[in-house]
């Protein structure tokens, strides 16, 4: 079983600060982390490997510093890491990203055939969730998004049983391998990595590829050039006008509020209980 997990380095939007003048993010305030969903993706691969055995590779496209999140993935339990890093990739939108990643996946697939690809549900910076299905289409394998459980992996039949989250509830899907999953956070708990993984990760140096390492890439489909979408303007979110204040002592405030709700707007009232 060979599972490849796509992992992305993202700014930690929890503590991110935006420069209100320029509407750009203040890099200093935003440490780069492993996209939380991708951490769960790696963890899920580890859980599958416990049952099936095999190898877990992680793949990332990003600047050289992205090595850090590949090491992080090794801490969680990945065996191998690939980083594709090149100016030509810069400024990619989801279409160009899935193109570049699929090229790398093809190359990995030649070295070591891939049975399953796992992505995060979305990256907390882009928040799009589009790269996963995009990769699946380019590799011509079925995408299964919003996965909350991998119930069964049957290596003989080459099938997986999967729970996929829906708006109200979930569905049970059976798919052939190879296939691509994108996982929700609730799919698992990230386990606390054993010391051995930590030491391995601290030493680990990923395989790094540049565009020149790929045959048959169309540069026109990479990075900014290969991105149909462009960012127009940035603006701070519109805030509706504030309404009126209800003044007075808390008693008076409560009284006025009751009036508004019961009489003026008559939104609330007592119904004979059934």
């Amino acid at each position: 079983m060979h599972i490849v997990v796509c992992v992305k380095q993202v700014p930690d939007t929890k503590i991110i600060k935006i420069n209100p003048k320029t509407n750009t993010l203040d890099r200093r305030s935003a440490p780069a982390i492993l996209n939380p969903y991708d951490a769960h993706a790696v963890q899920e691969a580890v859980k599958i490997r416990e049952k099936t055995g095999g190898t877990i590779s992680v793949l990332s496209m990003g600047p050289p510093q992205a090595t850090a999140i590949i090491k992080k993935s090794v801490e969680i339990g990945a065996d191998k890491g690939y980083l594709i890093s090149d100016r030509a990739f810069a400024g990619a939108d989801t279409l160009a990203t899935s193109y570049a990643l699929s090229k790398a996946l093809e190359k990995i697939n030649k070295e070591h055939p891939i049975d399953m690809i796992i992505c995060g549900k979305h990256a907390i910076d882009g928040d799009t969730g589009q790269v996963g299905p995009g990769i699946a289409r380019r590799m011509d394998i079925p995408p299964i998004t919003n996965v909350i459980e991998v119930s069964e992996v049957n290596q003989k039949e080459k099938t997986v049983l999967i729970k996929r989250k829906l708006t109200n509830g979930y569905e049970l899907i059976q798919s052939e391998f190879p296939c691509l999953l994108t996982v929700e956070k609730e799919i698992n708990e990230i386990e606390y990595s054993p010391m051995l993984n930590m030491i391995k990760a601290a030493r680990y140096e990923p395989v790094i590829w540049a565009v020149s390492d790929f045959e048959n890439v169309e540069r026109s489909q990479l990075g900014l050039k290969g991105s149909p979408t462009i960012v127009g303007k940035m603006f701070s979110p519109p805030r509706p006008e504030g309404g009126k204040r209800i003044e007075g002592t808390s008693e008076e405030q409560v009284k006025q509020l009751m009036e508004i709700l019961m009489e003026k707007k008559d939104l609330l009232s007592t119904q004979p209980s059934k």
Binding site: K14, I16, D93, T94, L95, D125, G126, D127, T128, G129, Q130, G132, P133, G134, A136, R137, P142, I144, T145, L161, T167, N168, G169, E171, L172, I173, Q174, S175, E176, P228, T229, I230, V231, G232, M234, F235, S236, P237, R239, P240, E241, G242, G243, K244, R245, S250, Q253, V254, K255, L257, M258, K265, D266, L267, L268, S269, T270, Q271, P272, S273
Partner: protein, 343 residues
């Protein structure tokens, strides 16, 4: 590609065993505006099995044309089968804009289709407009975790596609007897070619549903202090027949299960009455509730941003005011008899 070959605004109509998702109707509402500005027809396209009966409903909600692809293999949503249908329609009729609901299926489908059409796709849009001169869709969405908005454009590729968050656009009032064209496309699919099978669909309405459908929501924030105080809100909600929700900080503090989180990374809600109690009104929270009809904010900080969104603001200590409200409403109940609820 010649951009002028592409005309018309399309909306993907998501249906689950014969029921149309609310977001699809909202998008017909939003799409209508775009279509009128661009002076082109608005179309809804619908895939599934035995779905013809749904067509007229879509027309009453603003569609000029309804495209149908009906086939047993399309009974349940599957990326591989559905995208074949969409590709067929899109390549034949060449719309300039396609909108999808940002639901699990809508996002899944749009992402796959965008790849095969080799065109741009904007995710989780919350504002839509068009630049008429260049016939450009201006799809705006929160970026960097909601701290700012970015307008995404797709200049050189068609169709221009976007997924749109449920509950941010407004559906039109249906006009019964409104007329439009219904076009059905034949498609050849057979089950044997499918690599995925849907074995079972489980609806558990216990989750999510309740917040989404609630007429009255009492949402508490970190300012309630601790989980004990937070129980006050349950008592309050109970007295006025409301549902309790919370901010992310509250959920992360473990006072509330995750599915009751309201905001960007939680539920988007549009109740008739929204009580925002002891929460600051951070933008990521506000995007999830700002379309509520009536917003009442209780916060002891007069400068809390929530007051910019609130219809009525009460500057005061929630721990003092909420008990008083409970008391008052309980009194009313006993006087008048019966249950308190939204009319």
């Amino acid at each position: 590609m010649n951009l002028d070959d592409y005309r018309g605004v399309w909306v993907f109509i998501e249906q689950n065993d014969g029921k149309i998702e609310g977001v699809s109707l909202e998008l017909l509402g939003a799409g209508r505006k775009l279509a009128d500005k661009l002076q082109v027809p608005l179309a809804g396209f619908l895939l599934g099995n035995e779905i013809k009966p749904l067509a007229n409903k879509l027309i009453s909600y603003g569609a000029d044309i309804v495209y149908l692809v009906d086939h047993p293999v399309l009974k349940n949503y599957r990326t591989e089968s559905y995208m074949k249908g969409v590709m067929l329609l899109a390549e034949k009729y060449k719309p300039e804009i396609i909108l999808y609901g940002a639901t699990p299926n809508g996002k899944d489908l749009a992402s796959a289709v965008a790849t095969d059409l080799n065109t741009g796709l904007t995710a989780d849009t919350t504002m839509l407009d068009v630049d008429i001169d260049n016939r450009l869709l201006e799809a705006s969405r929160p970026a960097f975790g909601g701290n700012i908005m970015a307008t995404i454009l797709c200049k050189k590729h068609r169709p221009q596609m976007a997924t749109v968050r449920p509950k941010v656009m407004k559906a039109l009032e249906p006009i019964s007897g409104r007329t439009g064209k219904i076009i059905e496309e034949k498609i050849s699919l057979n089950e044997e070619d499918m690599r995925t099978k849907v074995l079972q669909i489980v609806n558990d309405v216990t989750k999510r549903a309740n917040l989404a459908d609630a007429h009255v929501i009492v949402c508490g924030g970190k300012g309630m202090g601790d989980v004990q105080n937070f129980q006050l809100l349950y008592e309050f909600a109970e007295t006025i027949g409301a549902t309790v929700g919370g901010t992310r900080d509250v959920v992360e503090a473990g006072w509330l299960p995750h599915h009751l989180q309201i905001g960007q990374t939680g539920e988007t809600v549009t109740p008739k009455i929204y009580f925002a109690v002891a929460l600051s009104g951070a933008i990521q929270h506000v995007v999830g509730m700002k379309n509520s009809d009536l917003i009442i904010a209780i916060n002891k900080d007069p400068n809390a941003p929530i007051f910019d969104v609130a219809t009525y603001g009460i500057v005061g200590d929630a721990l003092e005011i909420i008990p008083k409200l409970i008391e008052q409403f309980k009194q009313l109940r006993t006087e008048k008899g019966g249950e308190m609820s939204y009319v």
